[in-house]
Amino acid sequence: MTLLRRLIASGMMAALFGAGVFSCAWATEITPPAKINQDQYLRGSFTMERYLAGFDKPLRSNGDFILSPTTGLVWRTLDPFPGTTVLDDHGITRIDDQGNRDALARGDQFRQFVELISAVLAGNWQPLEQRFDITKSTTADNAWQIILTPKDNTAIASQITKITATGNDYVQTIQLEKPSDDHDDIILADQGLGNLPLPPEFAALLTGTVK
């Protein structure tokens, strides 16, 4: 039962990992996505459609994001309701439209997670291979495609059954399939690299106090 918080965190982290993996999946045979150096960050916009089994229409949202190997991931939903999710060394924090912060999960495990994404961004396959079976291919329009299937007995396996990502210079689409037959489709656009420091509006989101 001491697992409760960890289990919840794992579920949230698994979802975030799917989102975070967007810029790390490439095949060695094809042009990999642009690497992010330690002094850089990746910025872009997203559209997410959340398909829930038994519901006809998906839950659609869009917004922007920023990912830095050194500080973490900020996922900012702008529409239909503003809200931000931050993943950094300290855990997962949700910030509502009034600036109230809510720590969803805390713990040192998140440092490892940020390191994992960063390692992948640096072109290191090792961390992914420990947790996923990886299948690489090329799509009809010459984009690369990578399918990540969580290995058994990993934290992610209980939350995500498959991650499929496609892209060229950057990841363009991600699909996260869940054990409950739900799935999230994420389309990324307007991506580009910038040099640190982070833009002030994002930097502020990473440093606020949790309420």
Partner: protein, 767 residues
């Protein structure tokens, strides 16, 4: 005589073979757990358990857990090492399951399946406060954000059951209440990871716990050898018990060997011949073998303290051998010599058997084992004197023996102390009154924490694990009684409410009770009503607009979550929070016990229980009982003495062992030895040996072997003090205290045996 000797020798060989087979084959375990010392009273299962029963139940359950902490500067290396280590432990016989961070991931689905249907009645404290304060808007916004957040446990199922996403917050809150313990902790440049093993319930009863501990240590060493910079710590009752058992076994071997060698040297110095050594060994050995075989036959495991006591039986059984061996060859055939000492020997045995049989009435298994060991061992020693010793060639005590000379000198000194019978009668009266007063006035100290030796490494490991991981440590708990499960759950909720301020100001580290896992129906009803009014009524329509489905308010008449079998199957922790018809609230890091006591005082029926205090209180009860039993044994001895020796002589003879007990009690008090239940039980031994001394002397008084008997009693004293004096050197405080008390008492018993049986013509200073 030869036939009886052969039959008896065959019986001894049979018993030795049986004992060896059982012990070396691992069929009989050695138990060093203090829990085994707590009585197992049979009570009505429908009635609330007593404090001590609850303590036994909970500690027995806790004893099924072993906690390892692995540490390394690199997290990946640590996790890899921990995983390999966990696999090794899981593969060991006796391991039920392993908990390791990152494993048990399928549990999340089980938890959601259990709690999901009741989500609208399960509120975290913060959500409850927000809704009570009319701040449902914050929860509504959180629910909306949850719909679109990438970090969410949202699913189609959870959306139907819990559209306002209350359950994840409830579970997160519950996780906080449960405390850490399954996370990797970073501190001082190192990572720390817990590996928790749940052990089979029958591990101890089958005597396989030493094997498990050995295997666990080997696994730890192996993983340390494979992983440079890896450090480990371990804790759990199984490790402490094994360390104590190993230490006690080493003590037993040391004491038995040294005492035996000492006694053999003493006999050698008396007879200048190895043949009496053979006789003494036969008697001592037969007592040890028969006692051990009897305990093994009756009990599935032997407590180490019973073993230690068994080893000390050497000191008593050798009395019987010496009593025969010192007789002069000129006194006639072996049968004639045996006839001379048989009355005294038989009376001595009878008194000892009465004394030790009183122990068997004790509710603790340990004392029952000691009683069986002693009674059977002494009867076997007695039989060996009757059947085997007459076949051993006799040797006379040498006049030039240094011990003979010592004996003669002591006799001169003793004779100077002899008094008239009236004086002895007055002294006897003083002894009897003094004994009653000592029993009543000398304060007892039965704090169980003083009995064990403790293992410094294990204590240090336990502190480190409690400090870094928050595991182990305090075992203080609250017991909630009540007519039914729901009333107990409501009481549990009241307790949490009362103790929350103490958690907030760090006077209490935390607590977890059954009502935290399964709220009472009354609380669920209140929550459901609150959620209906403050969320569904106010924000239900707005939330429905965002969803591809209409949401409806919960039905008040729908089922509520209850602590049934299904819940227990998914939440095995429920078992740890329940004992008989009581609920248990476990407290962590208790810093201010008085504040806790004050906070729960108005809530009934709640009892604050510290296991160590509860066990100590139980031993205090046993302590009182032991004095009553000892008094009963003394009364029987007094009646026997008076009926055999007449009123005046009988009183004096009875007063000798009674006085020895008094000297042991006062001596122990003056030397700072705690007057515990166990030291009181040791007084039974003082009584038994003291009775042997005085009876041997009384039976041989005015006969031609009187001097031989005096020498035999001196030799008995030397051997007994040797054996019990060595017990006093034990590293186990309990054993040390017992040995000290007995050694002091026996010196007094020896002196009083002479003094109280002094012949009438040996009065005043006449030699």
């Amino acid at each position: 005589m030869a036939l009886r000797a052969s039959i008896w020798a065959f019986c001894l060989i049979l018993m030795a073979t049986f004992a060896g087979w059982q012990l070396h084959g691992g069929f009989t375990g050695i138990d060093a757990d203090f829990l085994s010392l707590i009585g197992r009273e049979n009570t009505d299962p429908d009635k609330p358990k007593s404090n001590i029963e609850t303590v036994r139940h909970l500690l027995a359950r806790d004893s099924q857990q072993a906690i390892f902490m692995l540490s390394h500067p690199e997290r990946d290396t640590l996790e890899k090492a921990a995983s390999e280590f966990a696999d090794k432990i899981a593969a060991m016989d006796g391991t039920q399951n392993i908990t390791l961070p990152g494993r048990n991931n399928d549990r999340f689905a089980d938890l959601m399946a259990l709690y999901g249907p009741y989500a609208n009645g399960l509120l975290s404290q913060s959500d409850h406060t927000r809704l009570t304060n009319g701040d449902g808007d914050a929860l509504y916004r959180r629910a909306i954000q949850n719909l679109y957040s990438p970090a969410t446990t949202l699913s189609s199922q959870s959306l139907k059951q819990d559209p306002f996403a209350l359950l994840p917050v409830f579970l997160s809150d519950l996780g906080s209440k449960l405390g850490s313990g399954n996370d990797v902790i970073a501190r001082g440049g190192r990572f720390y990871l817990p590996v928790m093993a749940t052990l089979s319930a029958d591990l101890r009863s089958t005597g396989t716990d030493p094997r498990w501990v050995k295997g666990a240590k080997a696994a730890l060493q192996s993983i340390k050898d494979m992983t440079p910079d890896l450090t480990t710590a371990k804790t759990g009752q199984i490790f402490f018990a094994q360390a104590e058992a190993t230490r006690a076994k080493a003590d037993v071997q040391r004491i038995a060997i040294i005492a035996t060698i000492g006694i053999l040297i003493m006999i050698g110095l008396v007879f200048y011949s190895p043949i009496p050594l053979l006789g003494a060994l036969l008697v001592v050995g037969s007592g040890l073998i028969a006692g051990l075989a009897a305990v093994i036959l009756i009990f599935p495991t032997i407590h180490v303290i019973a073993l230690v006591f068994g080893a000390s039986m050497i000191g008593i059984s050798v009395d019987y051998a010496l009593h025969f061996l010192v007789l002069r060859t000129s006194d006639g055939s072996p049968r004639d010599r045996l006839r001379k000492i048989k009355p005294g020997l038989s009376l001595g045995l009878l008194t000892s058997v009465i004394g030790f049989s009183a122990l068997s009435l004790s509710p603790t298994q340990l004392l029952a084992q000691i009683a069986v060991y002693s009674v059977v061992g002494l009867i076997a020693a007695y039989c060996s004197v009757l059947f085997l010793l007459p076949l051993v060639p006799a040797r006379d005590v040498r006049a030039s023996s240094p011990i003979r000379k010592l004996h003669d000198l002591l006799q001169i000194g003793l004779n100077r102390t002899f008094s008239t019978r009236p004086t002895r009668l007055i002294a006897s009266t003083v002894i009897i009154i003094g004994l009653v007063l000592a029993a009543a006035l000398i304060p007892g100290n039965n704090d169980i924490r003083q009995f064990g030796h403790g293992n410094d490494t294990l204590i240090s490991d336990a502190r480190e694990i409690a400090d870094i991981l928050g595991l182990g440590g305090s075992s203080t708990f609250l017991r909630i009684d009540g007519d039914n499960a729901q009333s107990r759950l409501q009481t549990g909720e009241a307790v949490r409410h009362a103790l929350s301020p103490l958690i907030n100001d760090n006077r209490l580290g935390g607590l977890i009770g059954l009502s935290d896992l399964i709220p009472s129906i009354a609380r669920q009803e209140e929550n459901r009503l609150l959620v209906t009014h403050e969320l569904y009524d106010r924000f239900g329509a707005a939330l429905s607009d965002q969803l591809p489905v209409n949401i409806t308010a919960p039905t008040m008449s729908a089922d509520y979550l209850v602590p049934d079998e299904r819940a227990t199957m998914i939440l095995p922790e429920i078992d740890r929070l329940h004992s008989g018809n009581s609920d248990i609230i476990r407290l962590r890091n208790v810093m201010d016990i008085d504040a806790i006591r004050a906070a729960i005082a108005p809530i009934n029926p709640v009892t604050l229980i510290d296991p160590a205090d509860a066990i100590s209180a139980q031993f205090s009860q046993y302590h009182f009982w032991a004095w009553v039993a000892l008094g009963g044994a003394l009364c029987i001895a007094a009646i026997l003495a008076v009926s055999r020796y007449g009123l005046r002589s009988g009183i004096c003879i009875f007063a000798a062992p009674a006085g020895a007990i008094l000297i042991a009690v006062i001596g122990g008090y003056l030397f700072g030895i705690p007057q515990s239940f166990f030291t009181t039980m040791a007084l039974f031994l003082v009584f038994a040996i003291g009775a042997d001394y005085v009876l041997f002397l009384a039976e041989s008084r005015n006969s031609n072997h009187d001097d031989d008997t005096r020498l035999a009693v001196l030799l008995s004293l030397i051997s007994s003090v040797l054996a019990f004096g060595l017990l006093a050197s034990s590293s186990v405080p309990l054993v040390r205290d017992i040995g000290s008390v007995i050694a002091i008492g026996l010196v007094g018993a020896w002196f009083l045996a002479f003094w109280m049986t002094a012949p009438d013509h040996e009065q005043g200073n006449t030699p």
